[in-house]
């Protein structure tokens, strides 16, 4: 067993809170032990290091684990309590998971984004469980007059073999409450895990399938009004005026007014990104009445900055691809010289459009602002930031702002940005009433904060033996510079040059599931396929040779490379074996591998025979190295979802603009993947390596885009360079 002492000091994050009447209650902070960089730590509010999770052992032996974590569909509400229960040594059937009441002084809230929740909570959650177990042991030791070291635990039972004593946790819980929190605790060996690694069902499953009110949009309160907004129809436009009178008299309409969300001088947080400074609000009794008024209202807007169209973005990005950067992001060796000596040169350009997040539940928020306090409730991942802006905007102290979170109908990055929280608060203050702000699908899709559009150009040089001797990548994105210069194949090629450009535009952008990776992985791994083909080598062998190089004789300082070539090669080898790579049975198949969010994923994708010009995905074999898998059932769900998401968006989805105006506003013109287009079969294999867990929500999406385009090449003889692939029709068959 491992004896663990915290770096920050146990008392700082585990406390015997004595909140409960009867039983043992331990409070803990699951962020306290996360391995973050000093910059990340200093940017976190200090309250995050206070208590934010609770664990109660009741007199009846039932264990309640309260997690304040927002659930956006990543299943952390199930996985995190599993970690606590594991170290506590209690049977999972005796565990109740509750959403912590967020509106108390004791709980602070969390940010769930970037697949980080489990990674950051891992150590703290384990120690919280182990601490409670140790205190129960101490209590039993005192009661029986024996040494705590001789007491063993199993499924909520304490036993002392020599004396024949045994007791349930419940019997010792109240006594344990008076035991001092130990300085050191023992954590289990991974081989002794009995809950972690078992397939465990979603703790909210029953509520979901019976339609319980769980989401922000389901919030209905006494006296509540519905509010909607009208935002500019195009980017680059600002409010000029309106005639609200005709609309104000429509049935059920209480008020229509123009308001400033972000007046001059208001200090913004990063979570305010994408916020529109001035909007029009419509407030009424019911959703339908507001929708009717919204249709009838005519607002005048004026163009105050460039009306950008998709053609403009395309042109500007292409121009950037021709332009060297002043300082390359990374430079090893001399690519120019190497290209001169190369026996073969491969060159390709890839692109992808803007994408909307399109969470199934549109943006919404409940607000009740009175002179005394502001109560806000809804789906937001960054309440700690939003409350600062709300306080500044309402002119109230932060202590009077209370933001609570609901379950979220999808995130994908969208709910990191919360201008809608500020909007709801301002509307409620103005109305002096509780309101629920509801975005229509059209508002949601045309408001911005999109995945940026991207272009990237690759050039590779091979020597006469088909070895990769030079690699040049130059990428550009709208409001985003795209390239991860220290990712593969950096470190595996002698001559390497990475350059990145960003194009400033007024179409707002933000993080979208697996930011940047969601495009660059597909481009890089599709290009890798072209280069492998030019080298005359098998695409998996070609990649493995490069990983060998990065393992045995890395170029430059290997610490600079932000991937572990052994783990990378590991997932490729695993997927090669599981897919029986050499025997494709005549299926068009493609391979791809990528590393992001600290996890490694490799995929082999088979297309259905025939299937016309956009063949359907028959099967995806997926190998994942995300360290220890807490809940394989939930983990596989995330991975399957990421694969379907990646196939869907790269095949079908795009946002485009004409004179600043989004050309898609609902699912009639914005195409999302549907049942009959989804991969028929997904087979997930995990690498079993006992390493601390890493991200799951994102990493399966990026590589599948290339697994698909590489398979499409096999099926059609044509490379798919531009997303969405559906627009690349008709392909050159045969």
């Amino acid at each position: 067993m491992t004896l663990v002492k915290t770096k920050i000091g146990r008392r700082a994050f585990i406390r015997n809170t004595g909140l409960a009447s009867g039983g043992l209650v331990i409070g803990f902070s699951w962020l306290a032990s996360c391995k973050m960089t000093p910059e990340q730590v200093s940017s976190l509010p200090k309250e995050w290091f206070e208590l934010n999770g609770f664990l109660k052992v009741g007199d009846n032996g039932m264990v309640t684990i309260m997690s304040p974590n927002p659930e956006i569909g990543q299943n952390i509400k199930t996985a995190m309590p599993m970690i606590v229960a594991e170290e506590l040594d209690v049977a999972w059937k005796n565990v109740i998971v509750e959403q912590a009441p967020l509106n108390t002084d004791i709980f602070t809230r969390q940010l769930a984004g970037g697949s980080q929740s489990i990674r950051q909570g891992w150590e703290s959650l384990r120690m919280a469980g182990a601490t409670a177990k140790q205190m129960l042991k101490e209590a039993a030791a005192q009661a029986w007059g024996v040494s705590a070291n001789e007491i063993t635990t199993k499924e909520g039972i304490l036993s002392h073999e020599a004396s024949g004593n045994s007791a349930g946790y419940g019997e010792m819980a109240s006594a344990a409450a008076s035991i001092e929190v130990p300085e050191e605790v023992q954590l289990k060996e991974t081989k002794d895990f009995s809950i972690i690694g078992t397939e465990t069902k979603n703790v909210d499953g029953k509520k979901i399938v019976t339609g319980q009110p769980l989401y922000g949009l389901d919030v209905y309160k006494e006296g509540m009004l519905t509010a909607m907004i009208v935002h500019p129809p195009a980017f680059g436009m600002t409010y000029k005026g309106m005639n609200a009178d005709t609309v104000k008299s429509m049935p059920g309409i209480k008020d229509v007014f123009h308001f400033e969300v972000y007046p001059e001088g208001i200090e913004k947080q990063w979570s305010d990104q994408g916020g529109i400074p001035e909007l029009v609000a419509i407030v009424g009794d019911s959703t339908w009445e507001c929708m009717q008024a919204k249709k009838a209202l005519e607002v005048e807007w004026e163009q105050t900055s460039k009306a950008e169209s998709t053609a403009y973005h395309e042109e500007e990005l292409l121009a950037l691809l021709e332009k060297p950067t002043e300082t390359p992001a990374r430079k090893d060796g001399d690519v120019e010289a190497a290209f001169k000596n190369a026996a073969k040169i491969v060159e390709s350009t890839y692109s992808a459009p803007y994408l909307a997040h399109n969470t199934m539940e549109p943006m919404n928020f409940f607000a009740h602002v009175t002179p005394e306090k502001a109560e806000l409730l809804g789906p937001i991942q960054t309440p700690e930031f939003a409350e600062k802006t709300v306080a500044a905007r309402l002119g109230m102290p932060v202590e009077k702002i209370d933001i609570m979170m609901t379950r979220m109908g999808g995130g994908f990055g969208r709910r990191l940005y919360g201008p809608f929280v500020i909007e709801a608060a301002v509307i409620s203050q103005k109305m002096n009433a509780p309101i629920k702000l509801v975005y229509t699908r059209e508002d949601d899709m045309t408001q911005g904060t999109y995945r940026p559009s991207y272009k990237v150009k690759y050039k590779a040089g091979l020597d006469a033996d088909g070895n990769l001797i030079a690699w040049h990548v130059r990428g550009a994105g709208t409001n985003d510079s795209l390239i991860f210069e220290d990712r593969f194949p950096a470190g595996a090629v002698d001559n390497y040059l990475a350059e990145k450009h960003s194009l400033n535009t007024n179409v707002t952008t933000g993080a979208w599931r697996a930011p940047r990776s969601n495009f660059i992985a597909g481009a890089e791994q599709a290009f890798m396929d072209e280069v492998a083909e030019a080298s005359g080598k098998d695409p998996i062998e070609f990649r493995l040779e490069l990983f060998d190089r990065a393992i045995n004789n890395p170029v430059g300082d290997p610490k600079k490379n932000d991937y572990d070539p052994e783990r990378y090669a590991g997932v490729l080898k695993l997927v090669k074996e599981k897919s029986d790579w050499a025997n494709s049975n005549g299926k068009a198949r493609g391979v791809s591998a990528y590393f992001c969010h600290d996890s490694y994923v490799a995929q082999v994708l088979d297309l259905e025979d025939g299937g016309g010009d956009m063949p359907r995905v028959e099967k995806v074999f997926c190998a994942v190295d995300c360290g220890i898998v807490i809940n394989p059932l939930g983990a596989k769900n995330q991975i399957e979802g990421g694969i379907i998401d990646g196939v869907g968006h790269s095949t079908f989805s795009a946002m485009s603009f004409n004179d600043g105006k989004p050309e898609q506003s609902n699912f009639d013109r914005y195409r999302l993947i549907r049942h009959s287009e989804a991969p028929k079969n997904i087979e997930v294999h995990f690498v079993d390596n006992g390493i601390d867990p890493t991200g799951l929500g994102e990493p399966s999406l990026p590589p599948v885009v290339a697994a698909l385009s590489n398979a499409l090449y096999k099926a059609t003889g044509r490379r798919y360079y531009n997303q969405p692939f559906i627009n690349e029709r008709p392909p050159l068959v045969g």
């Binding site: 339908w288 199934m360 699908r441």
Partner: protein, 151 residues
């Protein structure tokens, strides 16, 4: 405004609303039945699926004035205890991620199985194609529909 008497989940319910109001908002805003979700408002996503006389129907485009005496069933009325075979299968397969689309998926699936107790893969896909799942739970949904069909 007009008064409508509706037959919802086996109960008579009275509402006083504009006749053009879609059933989606009648259920959510006026009858506190929020299991039926809003996703698009234009019959493209299926989040609002209910049963009208047993047929899967998009509540966002179904005006209250067109319902008449039809029997409306929402996710809340599909079973008393969440024990409808489709709901059970959903739990068994652990389908939901964010869960937001799932009430609509379950309503479409249960209407399909009531008419076609043993659908083929293609029939499942055709019936379910109007229901988007942004989280990508499609493979699990198909598995759950088949499990429910066999139970």
């Amino acid at each position: 405004m007009a008064i409508f008497t509706l037959n919802i989940n086996g109960k008579k319910q009275e509402v006083d609303v504009d006749p053009s109001t879609p059933m989606l908002w009648v259920l959510r805003d006026h009858l506190n039945l929020v299991g039926t979700k809003y996703g698009c408002g234009i019959a493209q996503c299926g989040a609002c699926t209910i049963h009208m006389d047993g047929t899967a129907t998009r509540a966002c485009m179904l005006t209250v004035s067109s319902v008449g005496n039809s029997e409306i069933t929402t996710i809340e009325g599909l079973s008393e205890e969440g024990d409808h075979p489709v709901q059970q299968a959903w739990l068994e397969v652990d389908v939901p991620q964010c869960g937001y689309c799932q009430a609509g998926q379950i309503m479409t699936a249960s209407a399909l199985l009531a008419k076609n107790p043993n659908p083929s893969d293609e029939e499942i896909e055709m019936a379910m194609n109007g229901n988007i799942c942004r989280c990508g739970t499609y493979t699990r949904i198909k598995k759950a529909v088949k499990l429910a069909a066999n139970s």
